[in-house]
Amino acid sequence: MIEPGMKTNGPARMVTWLLLALCAAIALFPVLYMAILSMQPATQAMDADGGLVPGSLADTAANYSAVVNDDAINFPLYFRNTLLIAMLAVAGVVCSSAITAYGFARVRWRGRQPLFIVMLATMMVPFPVVMVPLFVLFRELDWIGTFLPLWVPAWFGSAFSIFLLRQFYMTIPRELDDAARIDGCGHVGIFLRIILPLSLPALLVVGLLHFMYVWNDFLGPLVFLTHRDQYTLALGLELYMSRLGTTPWNLVMAASTIMVAPVLLLFLFAQRSFLEGISTTGLKG
């Protein structure tokens, strides 16, 4: 069937397609740029006319092995540090947010609504505002220079994760609770047997988002870590780039590739649930 509006459809589609391709190319350019430069020898990367083609396989291997075997900056160690902190923090956020979200979504009690709003409001407290007193607090506890400030607070939940899980719990039919209650389940039983198993995808998204948050965090480690052998990748990369002398850009790009690759791969594998998780945040609570 041909309608008058359909005539423009072909060209309009073409324009959409071209725009999409252009935007995707612009968006992906920095990542490709990083990857290509990480494969170039220094002479090519530091030459204004070096061009945008990767070097040989040997150049690539030389770059990455130079980064991994650096004398002063121990990237393999930073990788392990970051992974350890991220895993401890993710475990904490998932457990405690799952429990807290149950209290906000499934238990009817006075004060629930106001406290929920207070919780949402805490998302607006910027880290720079509390970082000085937090530093003092952790210093009193003798936690400065340890990983503790970076993962212990996660065991008390994060407002964003609780909000996301609460939104998800609200979509689970209440009839399931009632059925379980008839079977003699209390809140703990309902939580463990019904809510938790049904919300596994949401828990996965929360864990994933928090993993990326911790992996990418710069200011937290910058403030709370003191020794070089405790650094995370974010601090290591900054240190590597700002090291005295001309920065060999090909090596810096290889180092950032090492930091970027895990999050990028995680995102690619889980992009669907990831993007859905983020769009949930925009829903009215």
């Binding site: 995707a24 070096g50 429990i99 008390f156 950032s256």
Partner: protein, 292 residues
């Protein structure tokens, strides 16, 4: 019974409640107290009343940081809003490989900001960088990006356009919820594409625009990592932002009292401006089915 229910509820949320008390309320209270003291960590804090606040008013660096932060907010938030809505509208059109385009446009947003800022530091490099090579390709003589205050600020604001992802995804979800028949009715009445966008689509997603603007504002008001990595606040403090001053005052100059004062003022400013945005925004936002 009712009291018991309240206790049950509190028990369930106790992990967050405890964390809230220890890692949010306590630091805020401590920060407020330290803001009235002179304290260098080495000696006990000495109460000095409003001295820190008076010092702040006359502090040249505060003026610079305030101006830079405001300038950054005023330019980057509208720019980001327009870019993320435009991307969402484009990505909501039926097209081949839609999932791929979405992932491609979102991908830079998952990168660590440290890494993204590092890549852009090289891309902006006047001699080696891709930015000026690309510009010269279309006949434009690229600037020395980190050479002047204005270009350094521009560089930071431009880089932000690569991080449209989260807002864009939320707009995409909102666009899906806009009733089709509204657009179709307008289309039959001969309303142009632009007219439909401005008069139908944007009002329908306006609550989400307000939400994203507020989130974007709170994020942008604490900008730290990108200027720290890319320009170190320079040149001539041209990209020196409020959070950087809080950090420097505390951890570079060891002036914990004054740093706390800067933090308190930052918090108050963000709170007030957020409320202001909400109040002004509510007037222009269209809520389907009444106010929430």
């Amino acid at each position: 019974m009712k009291r018991f229910r309240t206790l049950t509820g509190l028990a369930w949320i106790s992990p967050w409640l405890l964390g809230f008390a220890c890692f949010t309320m306590l630091p805020l209270a401590m920060g407020l107290w330290y803001s009235f003291t002179d304290w260098t960590l080495l000696e006990p804090a000495i109460p000095i009343g409003m001295d820190n606040y008076e010092r702040l008013l006359g502090d040249e660096v505060v003026h610079i940081a305030t101006w830079n932060t405001l300038l950054y907010l005023v330019i980057s938030i509208p720019l980001l809003t327009i870019a993320s809505i435009a991307m969402a509208v484009l990505l909501s059109k039926p097209a081949r490989f839609q999932a791929f385009w979405r992932v491609a446009v979102f991908a830079p947003s998952v990168l660590p900001l440290v890494a993204l800022a590092t890549i852009f530091k090289l891309m902006y490099d006047a001699e080696l960088g891709a930015m000026n090579k690309g510009l010269s390709f279309v006949g434009i003589d690229g600037p020395n990006w980190f050479g002047t205050e204005a270009w350094a600020m521009t560089a930071i604001i431009l880089m932000n356009l690569w991080v449209v992802g989260p807002a864009m995804v939320i707009y995409l979800a909102a666009l899906r919820d806009v009733p089709r028949d509204l657009n179709e009715a307008a289309s039959l009445d001969g309303v142009s594409w632009w007219g439909r966008l401005v008069n139908v689509t944007l009002p329908m997603i306006s609550p989400v625009i307000l939400f994203n603007v507020i989130i974007g504002f709170i994020n942008a008001a604490q900008v730290f990592v990108v200027p720290y990595i890319m320009t170190a606040g320079g040149p001539n403090r041209g990209t020196y932002f409020w959070s950087m001053y809080v950090y420097d005052a505390a951890f570079k100059y060891g002036d914990m009292g004054y740093a706390s004062t800067l933090g308190v003022v930052q918090f108050a400013a963000i709170l007030l401006l957020t409320l202001g945005l909400l109040l002004v925004g509510r007037r222009y936002v269209y809520y389907r089915g009444g106010m929430t």
